[in-house]
Symmetry: C2
């Protein structure tokens, strides 16, 4: 056995020249073989491969990047590394991107423009091939990147913009609401109330429109008096549900535009002695991890976070390869997750 120094497989970096020497060819030829370039005889190909294997040769990406000015590296900046939605999106991005041999830099801006700029600065210096800007909050508008990116392609994830010509990936809130309301209507519910988030979110408006659309299509009357707008979280759901259920003609279904709202509503219903789903069907939005642990387990409209991440990654990779980058808004379809809070499972 040969003397084994620190790293097991051939320690100190073996270069293309070492391989060339061992194979008895020029570095240029080795390069061609390593990159599967044409115009190399099958024979030398074999020889070189053998030599490379024997030396455990791995091309130095840095040198290659310097020469080719491509790094196979992406920047991913999130404004909320702690958020509940961020992770799934990141996972989608990482998944599709690493499968293509790309690596991604993880950066946290805390939603602060100065930090975003600082990160962008080093990403540019490190010559990333593209950048994804994620928001962890409910999809909203934002401006251009905190630093002009030149011709580095960008895509926005879970946010959109009017200011810059970038691709944006968001959930299809309208379609998601259609799914949810359609489910309720299909189960025979006729007085469907909506407990929504703050009015200034686009999602709020789109989801309400989705409900109206689905109801109209199902021939179920839409009663504007049964719509509440509040906050995205529990207490708001509790209050709105309490209020709605004490109406002279209370609803027979509650469409809550977040799972947190739905949990709050569930609490109110419970305190009021209203049975779910017998008396009132309850449906949430987001498919948060706690939805399945409610009693009854919460039927909900799932945000397609992982798919959104995948799409964002795919779009960016495509832009990188093809040099494109039009402004476009991609709405990814939501999915209905049927559990027990609406009664019978889907027809």
């Amino acid at each position: 056995m040969p003397p084994k120094d620190k790293a097991s497989p051939s320690s100190a970096s073996v270069t293309i020249r070492d391989v060339a020497r061992l194979a008895g060819v020029s570095p240029a030829t080795v390069s061609k073989v390593m990159n599967n370039a044409p115009y190399v005889s099958e024979e030398t190909r074999q020889t070189v491969r053998a030599a490379a294997d024997k030396l455990n040769f791995r091309p130095n990406s840095i040198a290659r990047s310097l020469k080719m000015s491509r790094t196979a590296t992406l920047g991913l900046i999130t404004d909320d590394l702690e958020g509940v939605f961020t992770m799934s999106m990141m996972r989608g991005v990482e998944e599709v991107v690493s499968a293509q041999g790309f690596s991604v830099f993880l950066c946290n801006s805390y939603g602060d423009a100065a930090r975003e700029r600082a990160h962008l600065e080093v990403l540019i210096d490190k010559k990333v091939d593209g950048v994804i800007l994620i928001s962890g909050y409910r999809v909203r508008q934002r401006g251009a990147p905190a630093l002009p990116l030149g011709d580095i392609p960008v895509v926005y994830l879970y946010q959109y913009t009017d200011e810059a010509a970038v691709r944006c990936v968001v959930p299809d809130d309208f379609g998601g609401a259609v799914l949810g309301a359609g489910h309720l209507a299909g189960l025979g519910r006729r007085r469907i109330a909506v407990i929504n988030g703050p009015a200034h979110y686009e999602a709020t408006r789109h989801r309400l429109e989705g409900v109206q659309h689905a109801l109209a299509r199902a021939g179920v009357p839409f009663d504007a008096a049964l719509v509440r707008a509040g906050k995205w979280y529990e207490s708001s759901g509790y209050a709105a549900a309490s209020d709605l259920m004490t109406l002279p003609a209370p609803p027979d279904a509650l469409f809550c535009m977040s799972d947190s709202i739905a949990v709050g509503a569930l609490g109110a219903l419970h305190d009021l002695g209203v049975r779910v789903p017998q008396d009132v069907a309850l449906i949430g939005f987001d498919n948060r991890s706690f939805a399945v642990h409610q009693r009854p387990p919460l039927t909900t409209v799932a945000l397609p976070l992982v798919q959104m991440g995948r799409l964002a990654g795919d779009l960016l990779l495509k832009d990188i390869r093809e040099g494109g980058s039009a402004a476009e808004l991609y709405r990814v379809p939501c999915e209905l997750v049927v559990r027990q809070s609406c009664g019978a499972s889907r027809a």
Copy 2:
């Protein structure tokens, strides 16, 4: 206004030579200025700085990396990008590391050795200066990295090893349990039950020892008949609590070794008509996000995830700079989060 091409601030990359030319000096001098090296007159320093600013010069990190064989880049591989503990640790790492000008590659191995190896391969090719291996699961043993890293420093986060000489960062389970049990004893509880996780976790054993230690110190008897080991999640807590409360001499406090267990126990207590905290004090472990939303809000021992991430980042950076890297196990102290489930707040 000058014709403005694609990128606003000086498009196509301006190099050190451009700056040198404009400043009327050599590239070497520019390099010295940019790196604050000595032996440059204050005068030229000014001139060069001005030229660099004017051209909006940013040194090419790739070129610099090639020359210096340092990339100011770290690899971060997690086995669970979806997990509840992962994010906070990643945030800690990102925070301390990016403050030092380092970037971190995000990689997801899904706990699969082949994927870990694949990621390690590209990280090595991309010449990262160090690697952090995170586990998203409850701290456990693991083997060496899936690929020998040569002399690239590594640190394990939320996991440890006997096989490799790496630094490991884990929570101080023993200390955390001492904190929790001490709190209970300090509140006058005398019959303290423990609902633990699976016996084969080290954490399980350490936490139990912590309880015993704290109880002994407080002069409270430890009753082994009041200890249950099960799973980390709710149903297990429900079952154990139901069982414990129907004992001839039921406990007056439940130390649950996860918040999920505690939530299950809370459900059981509720169903049994036992009041919390009046009849039984309840304390959890982890400080999960839902702990604060329980009724009553759950007192719990917080896992120091962000601090652990910070420490891991600091250790790695230190190893990179100083070339060290001893095998060592770092236990980061947990923190007691007092809410309402144990009665009076801390004495």
